[in-house]
Symmetry: C2
Subunit: 331 residues, 2 copies
């Protein structure tokens, strides 16, 4: 098997890198659209599809603090309590897919709410952090690691982080026991050349540590899949995607595109098509996800998609001109 084509390409067209693992965050990122109020049957259908598709990891939702997020405003997948997961996915601790949750820095009672790994069906804790929360994130990583979990750190909104701060943050994270550090394009603002530079920066920061670098893209500029491919080319081995690109706002890298590209025969696109057709399309009359002009505009301006999401949920979801004028006047 050939693992290097030329100086920058890490694979070739007819071989594959067995190190590449795919993480599906449909239920977690999609849950941001509907306050995590998915029905059990939907979560089970996605799970079954991912297992059949050969996907390596499934992210279910958040470990949100019940002090901060009132239980009556959100569905089960905001908290991912052990009993909710076991109710839907059973009690097995040996599964063909690893189960993950995201824990937001400063919004998770991680000491209490994250059980020791051997008491949980969960396998991976993904610590999401903004740059200023890194000290908290480091403590969360250590806590989860000591409890026996595989861990990732998802450093968000990196398109607005100055290089020097990024280098410092990566230096700190490289000294933690975290298994994977993710490049997270929260605003869907990165272009391919930036993805290349950033993945190289991340890879350099973890060199010699055995840690992996992951890619989590958003589709605001219709580049989520393309940027994920660039990350693969540069050497990223942990790839986030969602079924049909479902996710807040413009959504994520579509899993069906990614699996269609990856050559590892363990991956299968057919179960994902089944899931889209039978479980996701029926949701489209109450939930919206995917590329839209307002997300393009916030992406081009390297802004959080907050304003675009509000606009799409408001009374004039197609008044692109008014939204453009509002955004550019604020500049």
């Amino acid at each position: 098997m050939q693992h290097a084509k030329d100086d920058y390409a890490k694979g070739s067209w007819l071989t594959y890198r067995p190190e590449i693992k795919v993480l599906d965050c449909t239920v977690r990122d999609g849950g941001l659209i509907n306050e995590h109020m998915f029905e059990d049957g939907f979560v089970k259908a996605v799970y079954d599809a991912l297992v059949a598709a050969g996907v390596d990891y499934m992210e279910l939702g958040y470990k949100a603090s019940k002090r901060i997020y009132s239980r009556d405003q959100y569905g089960d997948w905001k908290y991912c309590d052990e009993d909710a997961i076991r109710r839907v996915l059973g009690d097995d601790t040996e599964r063909p897919i690893k189960l993950c949750v995201m824990a937001d820095a400063d919004r998770t009672d991680y000491h209490d709410d994250i059980l020791p790994c051997e008491q949980s069906v969960l396998d991976v804790i993904r610590v999401a952090t903004y740059i200023h929360q890194i000290p908290t994130a480091v403590d969360m990583i250590r806590d989860a690691h000591e409890k026996g979990y595989e861990t990732t750190c998802n450093l968000m909104a990196v398109s607005v982080v100055p290089e020097r701060e990024l280098d410092e943050a990566l230096g700190v994270l490289a000294q933690t026991p975290v298994d994977t550090i993710y490049l997270v394009d929260s605003f869907g603002a990165l272009y391919s050349e930036q993805v290349r530079d950033l993945i190289l920066t991340y890879l350099k920061a973890v060199e010699g540590t055995g840690k992996q670098v992951g890619m989590h893209a958003h589709n605001n500029q219709m580049l989520a899949y393309a940027n994920t491919l660039e990350a693969i080319i540069m050497g990223s081995n942990r790839l986030d995607a969602t079924v049909n690109g479902m996710g807040r706002g413009a959504g994520n890298c579509p899993l069906e595109l990614l699996l269609g590209f990856l050559k590892n025969p363990k991956f299968h696109v057919r179960p994902v098509l089944d899931c889209i057709q039978n479980s996701l399309l029926p949701l489209l009359d109450k939930m919206e996800w995917g590329f839209r002009i307002p997300y393009m505009l916030t992406g081009q301006l390297n802004q959080h998609p907050r304003a675009a999401i509000e606009m799409r949920n408001g009374d004039h979801p197609d008044d692109y001109l008014a939204f453009y004028d509002e955004l550019t006047e604020e500049e």
Copy 2:
């Protein structure tokens, strides 16, 4: 102004290449969805938007043979007769935007239907050809050139052309008076690395001739914009796009994304948003364009989207599974 960032990048983030020109093919490629039956007001609205946006070229449709394509089955923009263009866009021969038509090899009565340039409001003849039609295309290029037109050659379906044949074709075209040779990803099948290699191949073929290399992408794999960016990075200076990505099947590189990326201050995205909001969205209840799963599947298989278009127009447009099984059984 800086024109080279490093070995492969031809621009930088804060400067721009004034050589880059944008060609809008909304009315031509979009016309493939509705047999070119656009109302005059729509064509004029697109024209006005493109002029205001600073776009360099507007493609109106085809110069189709009336012997082959019956006049009662198609709208005016299948033929682009001089009187139709003048009726909608006026008689000016000096315009802020160049008007183009596409002429398909073997489907155009070019000797008769293409007037001498000084008698026409048209500026550019774009010769579309499959690899086996190159001798005809060369004759069409010479004919249009002698009549005074700027010319392009759009060599279609290049993702299924063997390298040796492509090299021969480019060698032949380089000796014609054609002004621009386009890399055309008819099946939306190319990945960024292939775009890079192909643009370099095209650039090498025209080296020293003063000819330009263009990019015409399709969105079957959601890579039309990303691949157009790759073409820019590699040195392509002629970029095709369409308003809202309107075009047959999965459509094209969205103009609003491209203009949002290009830094030349002559380009403006606001008129394009206006056009989408007021002229394109109202068409969505009778026309469909843009990324859909069936186009992804034909793109991944490097096939013409014909079967996917039929499937979307049929009785089961969302039966992805049946379509997938049909496609993969044919393999």
